[in-house]
Subunit: 432 residues, 2 copies
């Protein structure tokens, strides 16, 4: 029997708990033998006292053991690579990375999530595509990764159920922002889903969960440590989320931008991040190549059209209509025009994300439905110089009224100034 | 609607909450609108961040408003005084204080609790008395205080229900030991039960919740501040709980010691504490006398037999048999004998309390039944000199086996030494 109150007290008092103690606590919670109120008090004690690497690993390991795991590597006879992003505004990276990596001959089978608040979710974006099925059986998922080399689906309920429970509890008890709890949540899902090597895109800045490079670094280091404990290779890229990623924010708009990027016509910052992520994934794969070669192959897959072909194959395999013209279109498109001249010094990522959400692109509570057509396109990005009358952005809306409101908000999200801002690369730091 | 998660987050981040915010949170919790898990996380945040005086008052005030209050003073047309002890080993103070104060013409109507763990409860002690009823209706309670001047009963369910809920939650989430939560819990009950002035006996030492004088002082000061906010007079006495109070530990044994004390034949430390508490209570009452006069009157009530008369009147009024010989007697009585000579330097209060509990005098879980006859009598106390063969203590047990075990434990609880310990008064400090 787990003495939950005693474990809470010991963590409250700053003591270290053993692997068995943490494992039993978490699994008893998952079984319903430890009630929510004890787990909530425990999480708050962890918020104040922290968990070290070994404790965090124990928690993650128990989360994995709380449910099924997918033996993707064994099923394919291959080393399996995966990527994860901590979430941002306009983050469609996986949608472009998947086809490129698969076109290079590396299987990519990924489970993704939905959006909440100002950040979007990969599944929501994919559901802009008419007919696309995000729910496959395990057998369908494995079969598609084997045949097409690529599948992206929703997380099955049987995978890390303890994480789902715990996340729901943390969300309503102000215990989300703890580096160990975040790291264990992310890594448990990746490992349970079968990843042998993982590229973690840790977003940093205004539009990200991690507001500072120091916080992002701490999370990256904890996830790398978890990977080491679990014999998984982990590469973390810390990337800029002070402005939206690429131009498009909103589901179908982001699918269009993904297609453009696979055609070699994507925004510079987004293309750069996609190539960097692919380079790391290919270097971690069983191709036996290094990162610069990985980058070359990824660029070549865009250049020779094989990445776009793979995209179409994938979408079709999952029941979707891969043609760009079949994506939904918003009835009202308005331009956001600069009122003066200057350099774009900043674009508030949260502001743009919230505007897209209010247009209908996202959800504020878990049960809201989504308008896949609407969103924002930030045509001018940080560092661009503009004159009065230049188009800064486009708003894609369902109604004129919501478009007007959104235009005012997007204009407010743009900060113009006389001086050019210091340049800031999309990949701020790599922790390997 | 209360945004509980937001209030938890703000407290977690060290912010102050307003009176309305804390009141709404607590009352929503009492109504079941805020779940246990949010309150547990909140209590843990309070454990780490604390509550200031105003916040603690807001919490206490809401706890009072969560249920009924008893207008004892209005019903009697008198100023009502009450006392409370934070709990210790051998603490039968209220049982002697009540009859003395009532004999001096000051009404004393008190709600008490049961024991848990190594500390005893006043109600359990009273239930040693054949026929004694601890449950009276509010009308019976008021009537008895009016006619006899004295009643001690169990807390009614309608009084501060939020405290009951919250205490149960804190008990299993390692959030009991926070000065604000303890102070609000104690003071809410006293005020809801109708006290205008309160003497608080804060126990300090090995056998008490507060292990150090500093911790006891902090609690005393917080309770005094709460009293001030609520326009109640509060006097705190910080008293020694490094050794058991008096000699008797165990229910019927403590009733016998109470009777002896009312007869003027009680142990010195216990008699001193009783007189000090009575002096403060009488000085706080509407008699219009000062503390030295209060002490004189209390001593006189023992001397002239009026306190003992009042005890018998009270017990009879509550259905009990006041005769000492009707109290239950343990079948096995063993002596604990000193193995060498020296001074008694210490008697572990927790050790003796736990021995009494294992003999059957207490309960480890809320549902256990109690053996009222058993317990320990510590005949020699700190500072006494003994020679080998002297009787240190008596064990009153149900079986020979449990008596043997208890004797060994009690002997272990006595620390003898060549030098006399420094003297330590029973009342360590008074905070008025």
């Amino acid at each position: 029997m787990v003495h939950a109150a005693e474990l809470i007290r010991r963590k409250r008092d700053g003591e270290r708990l053993t692997r068995d103690e943490l494992g039993e606590l978490l699994l008893a919670y998952a079984r319903g033998d430890v009630p929510d109120y004890q787990m909530a008090a425990f999480c708050m004690a962890v918020y104040f006292r922290g968990l070290n690497g070994a404790e965090t690993f124990a928690l993650m390991d128990a989360m994995i053991r709380s449910g099924e795991t997918i033996e993707l590597g064994r099923a394919l006879g291959r080393k399996v690579v995966d990527k994860h992003s901590t979430g941002g505004v306009g983050d469609k990276t996986s949608l472009a990375v998947g086809p490129i990596v698969a076109a290079c001959g590396v299987p990519f089978g990924k489970m993704s999530g939905r959006g909440l608040g100002h950040t979007g979710g990969t599944l929501d974006k994919l559901e802009s595509i008419p007919g696309f099925r995000v729910e496959l059986t395990n057998a369908e998922f494995l079969g598609q990764v084997r045949e097409v080399g690529l599948a992206i689906i929703g997380q099955t309920a049987d995978l890390v159920p303890a994480d789902k429970l715990l996340y729901g509890l943390r969300d309503v008890t102000a215990t989300v922002d703890n580096v160990s709890l975040i790291a264990a949540s992310i890594m448990s899902k990746k490992i349970a889903a079968g990843a042998d090597a993982i590229v973690l895109d840790v977003k940093v800045g205004d539009g990200a969960f991690m507001k500072t490079i120091e916080a992002a670094r701490e999370l990256a280091q904890m996830m790398r440590e978890l990977g080491r404990h679990a014999d998984r290779e982990v590469v973390c890229v810390l990337t800029d989320m002070d402005q939206p990623l690429g131009q498009a924010v909103g589901n179908a708009l982001e699918i269009r931008e993904t297609i453009a990027t696979l055609r070699g016509e994507g925004p510079a910052d987004f293309t750069e991040l996609v190539l960097a992520a692919c380079a790391h994934l290919l270097a971690l794969s069983d191709l036996g190549i290094d990162e610069p070669s990985g980058r070359e192959r990824a660029a070549a897959a865009i250049e020779d059209g094989s990445a776009l072909d793979k995209y179409e194959q994938w979408i079709t395999a999952q029941g979707g209509d891969a043609a760009e013209q079949s994506l939904p279109v918003a009835p009202v498109v308005r331009q956001v025009v600069a009122e003066g001249a200057g350099f774009v010094r900043a674009i508030g990522a949260v502001d743009v994300g919230m505007t897209a959400l209010r247009l209908g692109a996202g959800r504020q509570t878990k049960d809201q439905s989504i308008d896949h057509a609407v969103g924002v396109r930030c045509l001018r990005k940080r560092g661009d110089s503009v004159v009065a009358g230049d188009v800064l952005a486009e708003v894609h809306a369902r109604t004129g009224e919501s478009a007007d409101q959104a235009c005012a908000e997007v204009l407010g999200a743009y900060e113009l100034g006389a001086d050019a801002p210091s340049s800031r690369p999309i990949v701020l730091e790599t922790i390997a």
